[in-house]
């Protein structure tokens, strides 16, 4: 058996980003951190805790059945932000896991392996680690890792695994024709999951309770969705690094009353900032879209570097919150969750409206950040948020959110010409990361934004000049 790697060095400095909103600053300290302590307390009381993949559509069901939850993807992100992921990566790799599979997965697998070897949570694990699971809940949407990871995790956890097939109609399909089959199958999948939890825990689902949890979840999503729309304001009231903190209660604590309280507060705060014209930075020069890939959790401070050069991230394509599915249509609550999931996964397939998009018959789209996205959806985002440039982050270990970036850049160019920066590193693994290189790339990119703006202004001036001459003539 391989040696147990060194203890995580939890005491190393954090590399998190400075956030703009008060609420975002509380996302972790007041809410998310609780996820781990609560789960640990719950497990200590003998209450089952599930390890869940985000996007499994399992949240409301688990809350309604009082199952404690932790999300190993979030745990991995926290480990990376606190510089405590490296030993886990090494522990996974020394058991034969390739160093290019998802950094989240390697962190979780390595953590499981070290926990098994030590017979206890490895000392120094960020946030006290994750309690032993009573069940593992995987999912198939977004990426293959969403279920293969937990299948591999079973090497170290004696807990049953259930994989929820979360389906998504392909861009190329005739939605009207195929949708009923998706809704029917998704509903069956959720029912199978409820049956699994009932069997493992001996509890029965209380459907009235589930309805109430779904109400809370729905209202939380609504507040967050509306908050995002407010980011269209100039100056932008809330940047991407705030989103990267604020999405977390919605992804990892959905259905809980505190999560609703959190999004209500955020919504009110961002609204107030818009009313008072408070921007992320005093002089907002450029508005950017984080247009592909997950963030480098190990060095989120990089977002602040953009800001120091006058560029603010006003929107992003990752961890998107979805257009809430109207509750008025709720009949059978399980089917409603299924419909809402399909709704969430088809809204990105926005049909072509831009005349140039439809004229060419091009309904091109691909996967960005794990979701199939049409060109039109991205163009809408660029227009609505008045975006000046795009930044894409290619990572070695997350194929799901990396593949398609080059393609999108190419396709978009046919409709809109925006400076685009590709940066490369990883979500978790910082072994090949160079902050200096990344900063110099950012410097040149911001220069190209300035040049593009200058060119645009000059050509506008020429147009005005021309039309002035014409009207004189």
């Amino acid at each position: 058996m391989a040696n147990v790697p060194n203890e995580p060095k939890g005491s190393k400095p954090k590399t998190t980003a400075t956030k703009s909103t008060r609420t975002a600053n509380l996302a972790y300290s007041k809410y998310l951190k609780k996820m781990y302590t609560r789960a640990a307390e719950s497990a200590a009381r003998g209450n089952p805790v599930a390890w869940v993949m985000a996007g499994a559509m399992a949240d409301e069901i688990l809350v309604a059945m009082d199952i404690g939850r932790v999300y190993p993807e979030n745990f991995a992100g926290v480990c990376a932000a606190k510089k405590g992921a490296q030993p886990f990566l090494e522990a996974a790799e020394s058991d034969g896991f390739s160093n290019v599979i998802c950094g989240y997965a390697r962190t979780g697998i390595g953590y499981g392996r070290m926990k098994r070897q030590l017979g206890a949570i490895p000392p120094g694990t960020p946030d006290g680690g994750m309690p032993d699971p009573a069940m593992l809940v995987g999912r198939t949407t977004s990426c293959d890792i969403g279920y293969k990871w937990f299948q591999a995790q079973k090497r170290y956890e004696d807990a049953p695994l259930h994989v929820i097939d979360v389906v998504m109609p392909p861009l190329a399909s005739n939605l009207e024709e195929v949708l009923p089959s998706y809704i029917e199958f998704q509903t069956e999948e959720l029912r199978a999951f409820i049956a699994f939890v009932e069997k493992v825990t001996g509890r029965k689902m209380d459907y009235d309770r589930l309805n109430k949890v779904v109400d809370i979840a729905h209202e939380s999503i609504w507040h967050y969705y509306e908050t995002h729309k407010l980011r269209r304001a100039i100056p932008c009231p809330m940047p991407t690094q705030d989103h990267l903190a604020c999405f977390a209660p919605g992804f990892f604590m959905l259905g809980e009353p505190e999560t609703l309280e959190f999004y209500k507060d955020l919504h009110a705060e961002v609204q107030q900032r818009v009313d008072e014209k408070v921007g992320v930075i005093p002089n907002e020069e450029f508005r950017l879209l984080w247009a592909g890939g997950l963030p480098p959790w190990h060095n989120l401070g990089i977002f602040n570097y953009f800001e120091s050069l006058g560029a603010v991230f006003v929107a992003e394509t990752c961890y998107n919150i979805w257009d809430p599915y109207p509750p008025g249509t709720r009949g059978d609550v399980v089917e409603w969750i299924a419909r809402s999931s399909i709704h969430h996964r088809t809204e990105y397939l926005t049909p072509p409206r831009d005349p140039r998009v439809s004229a060419g018959g091009l309904k091109a789209g691909t996967f960005l950040s794990g979701r199939q996205v049409s060109v039109q959806w991205l163009l809408d985002k660029i227009n609505d948020y008045k975006v000046d440039g795009l930044v894409m982050h290619g990572t070695m270990s997350c194929r799901a959110c990396t593949i398609g970036q080059l393609y999108f850049k190419d396709t978009l160019k046919e409709y809109i010409d925006l400076p685009t920066l590709f940066i490369e590193s990883d979500i978790i693994d910082e072994r090949n990361f160079s902050e200096t290189n990344m900063k110099s790339q950012i410097d040149s990119f911001v220069e190209s934004l300035a040049n593009a703006r200058k060119r645009k202004q000059e050509s506008q001036a020429r147009e005005v000049g021309k039309s002035g001459q014409t009207s004189k003539a």
Partner: protein, 396 residues
């Protein structure tokens, strides 16, 4: 005289493998449609039922990837990148269309990019088959519906209705093909094997650009030829199982052979996975097809429910590998996994433990960069492994 009549048996298989378009070009010239597809999860019976020749998209490890870099990130499955690269260099110009499938992340995601890159080819037909990842009663029903959409799209395209009888006939032809391939593989059970690993690769690849009827005939010729020839190798070479992504090239089999061993069986998506089980003929043929393509192919992309310990789970998932190892008298296993294939990399430690721990077989886990420039290093590792296999055989 058509190419088909020029050569026979192994020679013809080898010729087709080195020029995959050889026969397809002729067929196309006489009006047959040629449609490209990725992955062994695409049900070929539908093409056969409407007289279309399915043409499997493969890569080439000897061709450095250059043009695909503009469209596919380097962290994507190296095999899929190679496929797109070849197509950008004109290797798939003969295609009339393309069928994609939700097999793994890479195969799923390349579909739109492929069609985008080939927009000037004006494909007459494209379709994407969605495929669930789990095997449950509801997922088989769902998959059957998706196959129904696929069938309908082909009917609209060809203007021909596909009857149940057409499908049954196609299933019978493909089952015959599967039976012949299994019979061919049986010839590798001898010591020395009657058919080498490299020959087996060539014969399996040859079928991926031919109508099934022609391929069946070719297989009959190959079997007769192989059974009738004298033993080609000395007895006693190490017998290797290759678990891997795909075997679309003979580099690895040749390395094993040059070190005195034989690849006697594979579990790969260009090899045994495609033909180890027949499609059951059911009252509604779509039922048998849905069940087969979702449940019978042991690809790690498919998840099956399991209750019990991890040890039991490993046993249930990989028992078939143990059976192959026993039936083919295997002495060691090579896991040859294309770089960036998450599916197989996630399974690799379990497979290693099962083969090593449960079956006592030496295991070599090779990361396959899908790039022939690394073959020097590969050669050393394979040679060392075969020596070790021989030693461990000696000590048993």
């Amino acid at each position: 005289m058509s190419v088909k009549e020029m050569q026979k048996g192994l020679a013809y298989a080898s010729q087709i493998t080195s020029d995959r378009e050889l026969r397809a070009r002729e067929l196309k010239a006489s009006g047959t449609q040629i449609i490209g597809y990725f992955c062994c999860s695409v049900p070929l019976e539908f093409f056969t039922a409407v007289g279309i020749v399915p043409y499997r998209i493969l890569g080439n490890i000897h061709e450095p990837i250059s043009r695909a870099d503009a469209y596919l990130e380097t962290s994507m499955c190296a095999f899929v990148r190679s496929c797109l690269d070849l197509s950008l260099k004109g290797k798939y110009d003969l295609l009339d269309g393309m069928v994609g499938i939700h097999a793994c992340d890479s195969i799923q995601r390349v579909y739109d990019v492929w069609n985008y890159c080939h927009r000037s080819d004006n494909y007459k037909y494209t379709h994407f088959i969605d495929m669930p990842h789990v095997v449950r009663p509801a997922s088989i029903i769902f998959f059957k519906k998706q196959l129904g959409f696929f069938k309908k799209s082909l009917e609209v395209y060809t203007g021909k209705a596909i009857s149940d009888a057409d499908l049954v006939k196609a299933i019978q032809l493909h089952n015959e093909n599967r039976k012949l391939l299994r019979r061919l593989y049986d010839l590798r059970k001898n010591d020395p094997p009657l058919l080498s690993g490299s020959e087996a690769v060539e014969v399996t690849l040859a079928g991926m650009s031919l109508p099934v009827q022609e391929y069946n005939k070719l297989l009959e010729e190959v079997i007769a030829e192989v059974v009738g020839r004298k033993p080609q190798w000395p007895t006693g070479g190490s017998r290797i199982l290759v678990y891997g992504t795909l075997m679309d090239d003979t580099t690895l089999t040749e390395l094993v052979e040059s070190a005195g061993g034989h690849v006697v069986i594979d579990d790969s998506c260009t090899g045994s996975r495609t033909f180890w089980h027949d499609v059951q003929i059911t009252a509604d043929p779509l039922d048998g097809l849905a069940k087969h393509y979702l449940d019978d192919i042991p690809c790690p992309r498919t998840y099956r429910d399991f209750e019990g310990s991890h040890r039991d789970d490993i046993e249930a998932r990989f028992r078939y590998l143990g059976e192959l190892a026993k039936d083919f008298g295997v002495d060691g296993a090579i896991l040859s996994i294309v770089r960036f294939c998450d599916l197989k990399e996630c399974d690799a430690p379990d497979i290693r433990d099962y083969l090593q721990g449960k079956l006592g077989l030496p295991v070599l886990h090779l990361g396959d960069a899908y790039d022939s420039t690394a073959s020097g290093q590969l050669k050393t590792r394979v040679q060392a492994f075969l020596e070790m296999t021989e030693m461990s055989r000696g000590s048993n």
